[in-house]
Amino acid sequence: MNKAYIFVLGGTSTITLSIFLFILVPRLQVSEINKDAVSAQSPYTENELKGRKTYIDNGCLYCHSQQVRDPVAGADKAFGWGRASLPSDYIYDKPHLLGTMRTGPDLSNIGSRQPSRDWHHLHFYNPRLLVSWSIMPGFPFFYEVATSSESPKPGAIRIPGKTDQWIIPSEEAENLVSYLMSLKRDRDPVKASEATK
């Protein structure tokens, strides 16, 4: 018999220890913390969940984080991204979308920071219409473009700088914007025990 079993044993025990420390203990602790907290995030509506799926499928995650750090770590607060995130901000998130890149700004509180739906639609249609230095990709395929001197449809938005060009958001685009509107994780945290008082 050769000595392979030593490495089988060693490998199994280190990975088990790792599961213990990184999967099981944090679960217990986080669920304990969340038990006494009211989430700053409200449960998502059906449309918001559809928008969330669009967010995933179009890779917003790879450029935008949804986790705000303490001022010790960075200028997050100074940039207007809100207070530091808490575990209870994410209890309705599945899959989680914390993200680890900031090619674009954090979106934890985009719903309060930029409440204009029209702004978001134009920005998705072509970010450089509104923000000249942007390197965010446009999503023109979410929109239909119409030429008309008057609004061709309720919900159509005139392209800035053009008198007769309009974009008409698809349902997908509307849902995506609804999802962004739902992100308002800058509400102050409340404890469940105090909120009921």
């Binding site: 060693g10 280190t14 995933i56 994410y90 899959p95």
Partner: protein, 517 residues
């Protein structure tokens, strides 16, 4: 803790996993006391055949290679399948990588097609690289090395072939699925879960024959590369299954599980396989045993202990328990121990026989890889420190580190491994060895430009993201030149992969003379 049945189940799990790990540690200590782990220095020579020490095994058609021929070709077809398909994936994956890179500084480029948007190509790049290139290529080389070290021909060759087919089908379906919205939404785990079951199945169909081969081995001592391969084959399935059990996780807990996986797929899968290949090929090619066999023990056990507990350095500053982040920081710094011992071992061996680099292109790949391992790991320990991480987190610095690790280290080592194995699998030498050399220099230049350029840009970006009087706009503007530099380095890398594709296909084509005879 006593309220409710669910909590009780959790407590049982806790006690169970904790006891298993403590038992495992105990077993290790016992093995240590019985001197089953401390190894004779002669074991370092077990990879050399009769009269081989002192000679470099360079020519695949020499008498030296002949002694290994039956073992080398015991599973020729499945190994070729793994290697050749992985090279094809590499070319495709890096085309996507380059397109993504262009989109960073030319956001309108291919921007009006829904299927070619940044957010579709970026996960395609990562998943093709991780599951199309790195994993099957590393498995292919490992499958080729195992018979050499166990002295047993590979078992269940047909199963291995079927595994290669299923694995590739899994990756193809996974990629097509991503384009059409079948996306699990977790970084490093984007493939839709039914397709990941195919990958798990294929993985098991590789692991079981390998374990059978190992079980049949009569070798008194298994060479150090085998330790890494055995451990990796245990670790990866556990990681993959737990991280993909979506019913287990949501919210912050899922983020923790996600990055626990994403780190461990690097630390406990790609890295050990890469190191195993270095530990075999480096001494083999220079013709002398590794500098200190005892030291390699520290390298292995240190990696097993420390690297399995560093995952949360990906979420420092995030909404996770503080102790968990701190644990990962401590362990990340601890990683310096196995990294430095491994580095001494590799670099001293290479330094003593530096002249062989003139003769062997494969050795160039391996030595470059070993050096990148040292550099990227020490960089990793550094940017795990909280103060440092607060600057570099969320920036292109991390992407630069990722490529230095996965390209400079793993990919270069795999290039070497494939170039070493192929001639011995097909029994012919490369017709144009110079093209291998060209591949090396183009790839090495490309990755150096990529890593240094983007790393510096990422540092500037990070400083700006910490500047309370600064602006986000400035952080984007500052990085622009370095994003262009990245595309330049990436173009060189892609070119080198095309060269590799040519090299691989040219050696597969039978020589004309052979056909006439």
């Amino acid at each position: 803790m006593s309220k409710g049945g669910t909590v009780d189940a959790k407590v049982v799990f806790l006690i169970l996993t904790f006891s298993i790990s403590v038992l495992g540690m105990l077993a290790f200590v016992v093995a240590l006391i019985q001197k089953q782990v401390l190894v004779p220095a002669s074991a370092a020579k077990s990879i050399f055949g009769k009269n081989e020490v002192g000679h470099s095994e360079l020519d695949a058609k020499s008498r030296m290679s002949d002694q290994w021929k039956t073992l080398d070709q015991s599973a020729k077809i499945p190994i070729l399948l793994f290697m050749v398909s992985s090279v094809l994936w590499l070319v495709l994956g890096s085309i996507f990588g380059l397109l993504v890179s262009f989109k960073f500084h030319a956001p309108e480029f291919l921007g009006s097609e829904a299927l070619l948007t940044f957010g579709k190509l970026r996960p395609l790049h990562l998943n093709i690289i991780a599951y199309g290139w790195l994993s099957p290529a590393a498995l292919g080389v490992a499958m080729w090395l195992v018979p050499r070290m166990t002295k047993v021909p590979l078992q269940n060759v047909k199963t291995l072939f079927a595994a290669g087919v299923i694995w590739n089908i899994g990756v193809i379906l996974g990629c097509v699925g991503l384009l059409f919205g079948l996306n699990d939404g977790l970084e490093w785990l984007e493939f839709w879960w039914p397709f990941k079951i195919l990958l798990a199945l294929a993985g098991a169909m590789v692991a079981i024959p390998l374990f059978r081969t190992i079980y049949l081995s009569k070798e008194e001592h298994l060479y150090v590369s085998m330790w890494y391969i055995i451990a990796a084959l245990i670790w990866f399935p556990v990681l993959f299954i737990i991280a993909n059990s979506h019913f287990l996780h949501s919210g912050v807990e899922q983020a923790i599980a996600n990055w626990w996986f994403a780190h461990n797929v690097l630390g406990l899968w790609v890295t050990p396989l890469g190191l195993g290949i270095v530990y075999y090929l480096l001494p083999k090619i220079i013709g002398h045993p590794i500098a200190s066999y005892q030291l390699s023990l520290f390298g292995f056990w240190g990696l097993a202990l420390f690297y399995s507990q560093v995952g949360m350095h990906h979420l420092l500053g995030g909404p996770i328990p503080t102790w968990l982040g701190n644990l990962s920081v401590v362990m990340s710094v601890g990683m310096a121990i196995p990294v430095i011992t491994t580095a001494i071992n590799h670099h001293v061996s290479a330094y003593r026989h530096f002249h062989v680099l003139n003769e062997s292109v494969v050795l160039r790949f391996i030595v470059f890889g070993a050096m990148s391992y040292t550099v990227s790991s020490l960089q990793g320990s550094l940017h795990s420190l909280r103060t440092f991480n607060y600057t570099t987190h969320f920036t292109h610095w991390t992407v630069s580190h990722a490529h230095l690790g996965l390209y400079g280290f793993t990919t270069m080592v795999l290039f070497g491994g494939i170039y070493y194995a192929l001639p011995r699998l097909v029994g012919r030498n490369f017709k144009h060895p110079r093209l291998l050399n060209l591949h090396f220099w183009v790839a090495a230049t490309g990755i150096i430009i990529y890593a240094v350029g983007l790393g510096y840009g990422g540092w500037l970006q990070g400083k700006e993201l910490q500047n309370v009087n600064g602006s986000f706009e400035q952080s984007v503007r500052l990085t622009m030149p370095y994003l262009v530099v990245r595309s330049f380095g990436g173009t060189l890398m892609l070119l080198s992969h095309c060269l590799m594709l040519y090299n691989v296909f040219s050696i597969l084509r039978p020589e004309k003379e052979a056909v006439i005879k």
